[in-house]
């Protein structure tokens, strides 16, 4: 009996995942609960555990992206273990394929297998041999992967790829790193077809992975609209950052947000003197609470007072959400994640601070759980640490609003006709005009300001 | 010698050595019986010496001491009658007329042997003499003898089949099945039990609750008789009766011959084995079937010691020639390894 090991759905919004790394060898006997594969979703990288015990065989390769529920491996229980062949990290090919390849002078590394676990079969070799004349022109070995795709006969071009410099094709083969060779072997990629990395001056592992992902994307979604504007490149870029994984997700989600909502932004200065004094006092007690924590605490309580802001626009109308979970945008090298502080309005400053510290640390360490990022009803994003006062955040769907936190600055203000020094911060609220209008938006900001004026009440 | 003609069993003790039977058979037959016994004795003792000097490979189960049984029975048979044997089988083949050269060559594993070196001591046979093989499986010969008996009856040529087996073999299921089937199908068979008091190294009394194996015959509805297995004439007379019954359509009979093996289960040396006493062996050796028979013939005035000396000398020469023949014979070639697994068939 064999069980399908599927790309898991790790959250409500997860639709697909990319295999980053197998944590075990194919053919390994795994136990229920063992982490076996690291995947990249639109939100995070995560290690996936397996829910049955048995011998795990891969049906997928590193770099491939699958929809949730697609089979990425098989787990055979003991009853059929004799017939399961372990994949020991090399190209699997049947004896018949090897014989035919030797007879036809075809290199197996140029053939893509269609058998179980990607085993190269005899017919794969004969197919490849029959394609060899075109290959000299522009067809590629990975094109065979597209054999079942509608545009199989057309050579696939990489839409956004730079004019690649290919490794010299000679008897010695391409100049490539050992890791690149290993990956190319695993995926059946001809290294000669992979662009040379401009910096390393040889084919790199990333290069191979990018090449395969691009091919797969092109082969399996030939009719899908290009995710980026396909304007011609005005010059040779120094680097192309691929729009996959987290970067791709951010691109898609932000573009969709702007496309689907009626967004506008207002800014309001709020006095932070009371917060500064309160914070200094807490610091003297050994408690470090960030300004953003004050804003989040105030915002969460303001959301209780303004239910329209803690809402979601649905087909049926504006759904007011009872629970308040405020997300906090955390910048990472590769992008942005928004971990969620659950029931933010019920947390005192100290507990809130502890939670935001944990989430930020987990985000930077890559150890965020999927639940840590699910269910946000409102978002807070801060750029004040970079000297920004005001900006126009983009609403994080399916929320209806997001609050930008600016720099804390000292300003001279008139109070009762007297010029006094004051700590001020600018809040930037972007909201979806479909959900509520400008006045309630302003009133919401005022409520936040009110709470920030009496920080002791946030404790 | 008495044997019942119905299913009841006749028993008699071991008190008739060299008894009256000796006057009832011809002098010629007396020398025939004697010659068969001496041939067995000489072959077995030479084989034992060769084994001890490591010139014979494999197991060797010697028949010395039991010569009267095989000789007395086989002297009652024709060449086209059949026998099945045990893994103490050389004596049966010699008694049936086996060729020393081919026997000795087989014991040495040579290509000129009875089995071309593929059978050895435990599978020695001569199909031309109706000897259907020694057998490495205790009790397995009896069902085969039943088959031969069936064939003999089927063809109606008056042949019989004799199954030799030991006391221990009567404890195995195959023997029971064979004896019962022979009786049920009324086959021309004779069951000859060589009761030598030991099943390998365990005394008979420890493995069966009856004193006389022949008691089992009644359970098959088969006439049975006990004879002195050290008295070749007694054995021969019992065999003549049983064989005659079988040939005439009277069905199978059972003969229990009380006898003794002078050497061990296999080999010659006692090896300090404690399963029987030297005194017990000496008692039986005093009843040596050959020497006692010679004494009786001399005492009866039939012949002289000198005549016996001539016979022994003549047969010793045959044995020496057989050893030379065997040692000078080639070993089987590797090419013979897969020959005779199957009979090659012409297209049907």
């Amino acid at each position: 009996m064999a069980f399908d090991f599927q790309m898991p759905k790790l959250g409500l919004t997860m639709e697909e995942g990319t295999i980053l790394e197998w944590l075990v060898e194919s053919g390994t006997v795994v136990a229920e609960g063992d982490p076996v594969v690291r995947i990249e979703t639109d939100k995070t990288e995560t290690d996936v555990t397996i829910s049955v015990s048995g011998r795990l065989s891969f049906a997928s390769s590193v770099g491939q992206t699958f929809r949730c529920g697609d089979v990425i491996g098989y787990v055979a229980d003991g009853s059929e273990s004799e017939s399961v062949q372990p994949l020991d990290g090399r190209v699997k090919s049947s004896p018949n394929a090897r014989r035919l390849a030797a007879e036809a002078g075809v290199s197996l590394s140029t053939v893509v297998g269609t058998g179980p676990e990607g085993r190269i079969l005899g017919i794969d070799v004969t197919d490849a041999a029959s394609r060899q004349p075109q290959r000299a022109a522009s067809a590629t070995p990975v094109a065979a992967l597209a054999a079942s795709a509608p545009t199989a006969s057309a050579p696939v071009r990489v839409a956004a790829a730079p004019t690649p410099t290919y490794a010299p094709v000679s008897g010695g083969g391409a100049v490539a790193s050992a890791a690149a060779r290993q990956l190319a072997d695993l995926l059946g990629v001809d290294l000669n077809m992979v662009p040379i990395d401009a910096v390393e001056q040889r084919v790199t592992r990333d290069g191979v992975a990018l090449y395969v992902r691009t091919r797969l994307a092109a082969a399996t979604q030939p009719a899908a609209p290009a995710p980026v504007a396909a304007s011609p490149l005005s010059q040779e870029p120094t680097q192309v950052v691929r729009l996959t994984g987290m970067r791709g997700t951010i691109a898609k989600r932000m573009q969709a947000s702007l496309r689907d909502m009626a967004q506008l932004t207002l800014t309001m200065d709020v006095a932070m003197g009371a917060v500064a004094a309160h914070r200094a006092h807490q610091k003297s007690l050994g408690l470090f609470i960030g300004y953003t924590d004050y804003v989040m605490a105030a915002t969460a309580r303001a959301l209780r007072d303004h239910p329209r802001v803690n809402a979601q626009v649905t087909a049926d109308g504006i759904a007011l959400l009872g629970e308040i979970h405020v997300g906090l945008a955390v910048a990472l090298d590769e992008g942005l994640v928004v971990p969620v502080v659950r029931h933010t309005d019920r947390l005192g400053l100290s507990a809130l601070s502890t939670e935001t510290t944990r989430l930020a640390s987990a985000a930077r360490g890559g150890s965020l759980a999927v639940d840590d990022m699910a269910g946000g009803t409102f978002s807070v994003t801060a750029l004040g640490m970079f000297g920004v006062d005001a900006f126009t955040p983009i609403v994080n769907p399916p929320n209806v609003a997001i609050l930008g936190v600016g720099r804390l600055r000292d300003e001279v203000v008139l109070a009762d006709g007297v010029a006094v020094n004051s700590s001020v911060m600018t809040l930037s609220l972007t909201w979806d005009h479909r959900a509520f209008d400008g006045a309630p938006a302003a009133q919401f900001c005022q409520t936040i300001a009110k709470y920030l004026a009496t920080p002791a009440a946030l404790e | 010698m008495v044997a019942s003609s119905n299913a009841s069993t006749t028993k008699r003790g071991n008190d008739l050595h060299g008894g009256p039977g000796i006057v009832t058979i011809s002098v010629e037959k007396q020398f025939d019986l004697h010659r068969r016994m001496v041939r067995i004795r000489l072959f077995e003792e030479e084989a034992g010496r060769l084994a001890e000097s490591a010139r014979l490979p494999g197991f060797l189960h010697l028949y010395v001491g039991e010569e009267a049984v095989a000789s007395g029975v086989c002297a009652a048979l024709n060449d086209d009658d059949h026998i099945t044997s045990t893994h103490r089988g050389h004596g049966h083949l010699v008694a049936k007329g086996g060729n020393f050269n081919r026997m000795m060559a087989e014991l040495m594993g040579k290509s000129t042997g009875y089995c071309k070196g593929k059978g050895g001591s435990m599978h020695i046979n001569d199909m031309d003499l109706g000897m259907l093989g020694a057998n490495g499986i205790v009790g397995a010969g009896s069902p085969i003898a039943v088959g031969a008996a069936f064939a003999n009856k089927y063809r109606g040529r008056g042949q019989v089949a004799v199954a030799f087996f030991g006391d221990g073999a009567t404890n195995i299921g195959a023997f029971h099945e064979a004896a019962n089937m022979a009786a049920a199908l009324h086959l021309p068979a004779v069951f000859v039990c060589e009761n030598n008091e030991f099943g390998e190294f365990t005394p008979r009394g420890a493995t069966m609750a009856i004193a006389d194996v022949v008691d089992r015959a009644a359970g098959y509805g088969m006439p049975g008789v006990i004879v002195d297995g050290m008295d070749v004439v007694a054995v021969h007379e019992a065999a003549l009766l049983a064989v005659a019954r079988a040939r005439s359509g009277g069905g199978p009979s059972f003969i229990e011959a009380k006898t003794y093996r002078f050497y061990n289960h296999h080999g010659i040396q006692n090896l300090g084995l404690k399963y029987r006493t030297d005194d017990e062996v000496d008692v039986w050796k005093k009843r040596d079937p050959i020497f006692c028979f010679e004494d009786a013939m001399i005492a009866h005035g039939t012949t002289t010691r000198d005549r016996f000396d001539e016979i022994w000398t003549e047969l010793r020469a045959d044995i020496a020639a057989a050893v030379t023949f065997a040692e000078e014979s080639p070993s089987p070639d590797k090419s013979q390894l897969l020959v005779d697994v199957y009979t090659q068939m012409a297209a049907l």
């Binding site: 018949n96 179980p116 | 259907l132 088959g147 069936f150 089937m181 005779d340 049907l348």
Partner: protein
Amino acid sequence: MSDAPVQAPTERKRTYGQAFNDAVRAEMTANPDVFVAGEDIGAFGGVFQTFVGLQETFGVERVVDTPISEQAIVGLGLGAAATGLRPIVDLMFMDFVCVAMDQIVNQVAKMKYMFGGGLKVPLTITTCAGAGLSAAAQHSQSLEALLCHIPGLKVVYPSNAYDMKGLMISCIREDNPTVMIKHKRLLGTSGVIPNDSYAIPLGVAKTVRAGTDVTVVAYGKMLSDTLAAAETLAAEGISCEVIDPRTLQPFDIETVVESVKRTNRAVIVHEAVRFGGLGAEIAAQIQEYAFDYLDAPVGRVAAPFSPVPFSPALEQYWVPDAASIADGIRAAVARPLLAR
């Protein structure tokens, strides 16, 4: 009224069991050395009626009812065969082979070789094998692998009435010991077969269905189930070449290898349990002789490793059927990445 000459039909419809009976009857008529012996085979005609009517024709001397004594039955056959007759002895159920194992393995199979070749053993042992009748663990086994393992024996397992008659005639005429295995559930299946005697040579397989994608080896009852599976798979675009070895020992590996070199895949089907079954031997030989032609591991469809259960509710899962055979073949031809 017709003037057309009335011709005697040259063939007729016979069941597998009748075909066996026809073969025995024909050879007993042709050769007075042939006789049959076994339990209940005389007046009763055998518990599966495969010997019915023979005693009427040939008498009690040639159609012999024996005691329930499997060792002695085989010994009877061996002793008679070694002394010139051509016996057929019947072991009612294949499970009872075990009762007679010493005679079969240590005596019958080896006698010619260990005696130096100076005799023939033209003995045929017949028996009925197979599950599917709720006969439980001691009356349902398929033990052909045990027998095929023994040098000196030939083992024959027909899958249909035509082969039964021709193979049984060959067994009787064979100068070596043969074991003729009949499958209980095939006894009532029928085919139109020639009235005359004909011999099918032992050790020659038959390609029952030509195909291009996978070679499937099946025998006995499994052949018809495999053909049904092949029909199902044909509709899915999978072309099965089905080979019936007919004789299991000696095994016609040449025919199988020639086929595998064309199809590049092989599946072996048998009703016996999988571990140590004949499929293991056939698979081993395929990889020995056609390794460089294989596109997939050689597959096996066989019974699970348990005694045969009694309850129909369980037994149906024990015996391979067309569906499980089709599954096994699909696994061997699977190209999961083709669809991706």
